[in-house]
């Protein structure tokens, strides 16, 4: 009896300690919950679904960033250009298919065409990732690891310039968009009308993230990727080929960004600088969650989307980038390693 009385306050004490240890996380969680309820009361289900779509996309982009930083210690600022390439590939695959469908209606192809375009973007993204890693990062890594984070950062900025201006040179600054992927009426869900394109985009993001999660947690190669992010030397000692894992990781991240670029084609259109907004928002997500924290990036994606749409709703559309930026500054001041407190190994050592 006396023992039970002792344990009860102890769990309360533990909870208190846990809250104090994870104060930034608790604050963000409580704040997000309040915002979520407010958005729901004001906007109803369509707004919630909007957050789900945008959040899933930010999560898809940010997991790529988190992977690249966690495994390769590259602060990737050309991630938006992977998004841009994906958007262009999506456009150039979907548009001819769509034209063809005008002349020869075919219900099966109509359903499959957007998926084909998005898959093509994923494949091109993966190949581009391999090419960039093999041509740029691998040679640098083999030459020296001194000042790696800074050098890699500058390289990604350079890649971003080259890709943006290269695309501008070849394809011109024109906007290439599509009105919609699926030319059908919006679906009625929970008393609200939601475009099929949005449902598809959210579905693709969620499926891709789940596949990635399964790959990282359950397969041998996925386990090797996590091993490299935790201890490079240890990974080499058990026989993991660092070059292979790093090329694979970069390729996966690029493919995921390209997939989100193609699946958001109906929202963003394709033009050379389309990647800037997605890049900033995915960086907000990884800064909020903690650099290199893949699980945190998924949750963070939805939090940033929530911030974004509640700003649109309560303050005004033009403030939608300002408020997340202010929140990021606060996060950096209060919890520099993110609300989930990720600890990236190897950065300090280099």
């Amino acid at each position: 009896m006396a023992k039970e009385q002792l344990t009860a306050p102890k769990t309360q004490e533990n909870l208190k300690i846990w809250i104090m240890d994870n104060l930034p996380l608790v604050i963000v969680a409580v704040f997000s919950l309040i915002l979520f309820i407010l958005v729901y009361l004001r906007g109803g289900p369509p707004q919630i679904f909007n957050i789900l779509v945008t959040g899933a996309m930010w999560a898809l982009l940010a997991t790529g960033l988190a992977l690249v930083f966690g495994v390769m210690n590259i602060p990737h600022f050309a991630h938006g250009e992977s998004f841009m390439i994906g958007a262009f590939v999506g456009y150039f695959v979907f548009n001819p298919l769509n034209q063809y469908l005008y002349d020869n209606p075919n219900s099966l192809l109509q359903v499959v065409a957007p998926i084909l375009a998005i898959l093509a973007a994923g494949v091109v993204g993966a190949l581009m990732g391999i090419l960039i890693e093999k041509m740029i990062f691998a040679p640098l890594r083999h030459r020296t690891k001194k000042g790696w984070v800074m050098n890699a950062f500058l390289l990604t900025v350079g890649i971003s310039f080259v890709l943006t201006n290269g695309t501008n040179l070849v394809l011109g600054p024109n906007f290439r968009g599509i009105p919609r992927f699926y030319d059908v009426d919006a679906l009625q869900l929970w008393g609200a009308y939601i475009a099929v394109d949005r449902i598809m985009a959210a579905g693709i993001a969620i499926v891709t993230i789940s596949l990635l999660w399964f790959f990282l947690q359950r397969t041998k190669t996925g386990r090797a990727i996590r091993a490299v992010s935790q201890d490079e030397t240890g990974a080499q000692l058990v026989g993991i080929d660092l070059d292979f894992i790093q090329t694979l990781t970069f390729s996966l991240a690029t493919a995921m960004a390209a997939i989100s670029g193609a699946s958001l084609l109906f929202m963003f259109q394709a033009y050379p600088t389309v990647g800037v907004t997605p890049l900033y928002f995915s960086w907000y997500v990884v800064m909020l969650a903690g650099l290199g924290n893949v699980a945190g990036a998924i949750v963070g994606g939805f939090i940033v989307a929530l911030l974004q749409s509640s700003t649109q709703m309560f303050i005004g559309l033009s403030w939608q980038s300002v408020v997340p930026t202010v929140v990021m500054i606060l996060v950096l001041v209060i919890a520099p390693s993110g609300i989930f407190g990720s600890e990236v190994k190897g950065v300090q050592e280099q």
């Binding site: 386990r223 091993a227 201890d231 030397t233 240890g234 990974a235 080499q236 000692l237 058990v238 026989g239």
Partner: protein, 234 residues
Amino acid sequence: MLEIKNLDSGYEFLQVLWGVSLYVDDGEFVALIGPNGAGKSTTLRTIAGLIESKGGEIIFNGKSITKKSAHIISRMGISYVSEALNLFTDMSVRENLLLGAYAVKERGVQLETLDYIFELFPRLQERRDQLAGTMSGGERKMLAIARGMMSNPTLMLVDEPSLGLQPNLTYDVFDALLQLRDQGVTILLVEQNVNATLDITDRAYILEQGKIVMEGPSKEVKSDEHVRNAYLGI
């Protein structure tokens, strides 16, 4: 099994090893001892491929592994248990062990070795789902050695297993190494605990300032005047 000829090695502007030659025969338990900074760890790290040698040759089972990268050397059957352990701290004990068998293709063989390891280290079986980073120092050493064994290596390079351990745990680790030796695994051990090391090993090399200054059966080395004065404090 392992033969090193005139090995020069070190870091960018600092050469640590100067013409080190040594050999380890099949099934032997060999010690490499010496004072701090003599280059013991550098020797092991160079064999494991973590440091590129500056000269000389390393031959393993008749093949030169001098300039090979670490993961290839590991796949050839050399397992290096480093001083820093290099465990995957955010993964469970089981995942760490399975990664130790990364180069083993057949899943069945992996699981068989895992069962065998758990039999050898019951403590690790108890903690199979615990994160490696949350274990005590002694358990982490055990895990590092066990992970090194998961690839069924023919040669194990073990770097200072007793470092930072209380004496009774040190003997646990040494027991594990002796069991390994009895399984027919060849071991090259680097240790600071000279007295105990010379009791359990077959042969010993003394490394001072990057050069081998003495070699011989452990018993002879232990009775040597210089060793008794410098390392055993007798």
